[in-house]
């Protein structure tokens, strides 16, 4: 059950009083969403788990600074987004090393030896994920954030606008531009690689 505003106030008070059960309740409530926010940016399960841990460490250490002018969930998701963006900036140099050749080797995918149906589908899914993640990484931060949050269930444009501190029309615009840019990049890629 999602914490209501009154519950949030008492939950925060309990956590400030170092009540471990209260903090566990908070973690259990928001864990999956936070992990998926981090995963949306990092595309790596291990990195996402580590980052999510750092998010909750910061939540625990900074809970006294939570001003309750926004929902607790919004505050936590903002921390997750900021930590993820900082993580990407720090690792940007490493990501630039990966090239399309490293992902696919020297063979054209169409000439690859056909595998059985199940393995083929997994392989194709994996390759599509690599392609789209590369395209996502090249988006501006605001578009990347809006698209990543939109993927999650229960993340309405209203929730995204509160997390990003922009208006709902701005979120709609960011989503539209993100999708258009991603599709353009995919068209350019598949034009030469099909």
């Amino acid at each position: 059950m999602k914490p209501s505003h009154l519950n949030e106030v008492s939950l925060v008070s309990e956590i400030l009083a170092k009540n471990e059960e209260a903090f566990k309740t908070l973690v259990d409530e928001f864990q999956q969403k936070v992990i998926n926010i981090c995963y949306g940016f990092t595309h790596q399960k291990e990195d996402a788990m580590n980052l999510a841990q750092e998010v909750f460490v910061e939540v625990y250490q900074s809970i006294s600074s939570f001003r309750q002018d926004a929902k607790l969930s919004t505050w936590i998701y903002r921390i997750a987004v900021n930590k993820s963006l900082n993580h990407l900036r720090k690792n940007k140099r490493n990501r630039l090393v990966e090239t399309w050749d490293n992902l696919f080797g020297n063979e054209n995918i169409n000439n690859a030896v056909p595998l059985n149906d199940h393995a083929d589908k997994n392989y194709i899914d994996m390759e599509r994920r690599s392609i789209i993640n590369k395209a996502l990484d090249s988006l501006p931060d605001a578009q990347k954030t809006a698209f990543t949050l939109h993927k999650l269930e229960d993340f309405s444009y209203q929730q995204i606008s509160e997390t990003m501190r922009v208006s709902v029309p701005a979120v709609e615009s960011l989503m539209h531009r993100a999708k258009m840019n991603l599709q353009k990049k995919l068209v350019n890629y598949y034009k030469d690689n099909l």
Partner: protein, 153 residues
């Protein structure tokens, strides 16, 4: 419509944001061009992959790892060491500025003293005079020319 034009309009076609006439032309081209049809399919499926790429598994050990991370001193120490480093750095800068001012003052005092001393050592007459005498022009005159300013001619 040619393939180049079709490629250019794929994003708006997928987003249903092109006008009816353009949409009609796109559909007509799709029926005739197999490579554009395949390209559109790959773009669409890859976008779907992006939308569905979320983690569903529950990590049952997530909280216990988090708890041990919070309980280890490193979590608090890291924050503490940052504050400590900032405090030390601020103190070091302030101490350096203070020392610099003190040294500067001492250096100026030393230089003025050594100028006077070097003047005195190079001039035998001046060396017989005390520093306070040097500040009185009439006394200097008297000493140098052995004139008694009180004697009338």
């Amino acid at each position: 419509m040619n393939c180049t034009s079709f490629h250019k309009n794929i994003p708006s076609f997928l987003e249903h944001s092109c006008d009816l006439e353009l949409e009609k032309q796109m559909k007509s081209h799709l029926e005739k061009c197999e490579s554009c049809s395949l390209l559109l399919q790959q773009v669409y499926l890859t976008m779907q992959t992006a939308m569905e790429d979320v983690l569903h598994e529950d990590d049952v050990y997530f909280y216990s790892r988090l708890r041990s991370r919070l309980d280890t001193p490193a979590a608090g120490q890291k924050k503490f060491s940052l504050q400590f480093t900032l405090a030390i750095s601020t103190f070091a800068v302030a101490a350096s500025v203070f020392l610099g001012i003190m040294l500067g003052n001492n250096l100026m005092h030393y230089e003025s003293t050594s100028v006077n001393n070097s003047f005195a050592s190079s001039n035998p007459i001046a060396s017989e005079l005390s520093l306070s005498d040097l500040n009185t022009p009439s006394s200097v005159y008297y000493e140098l020319f052995n004139d008694d300013p009180n004697e009338s001619e």
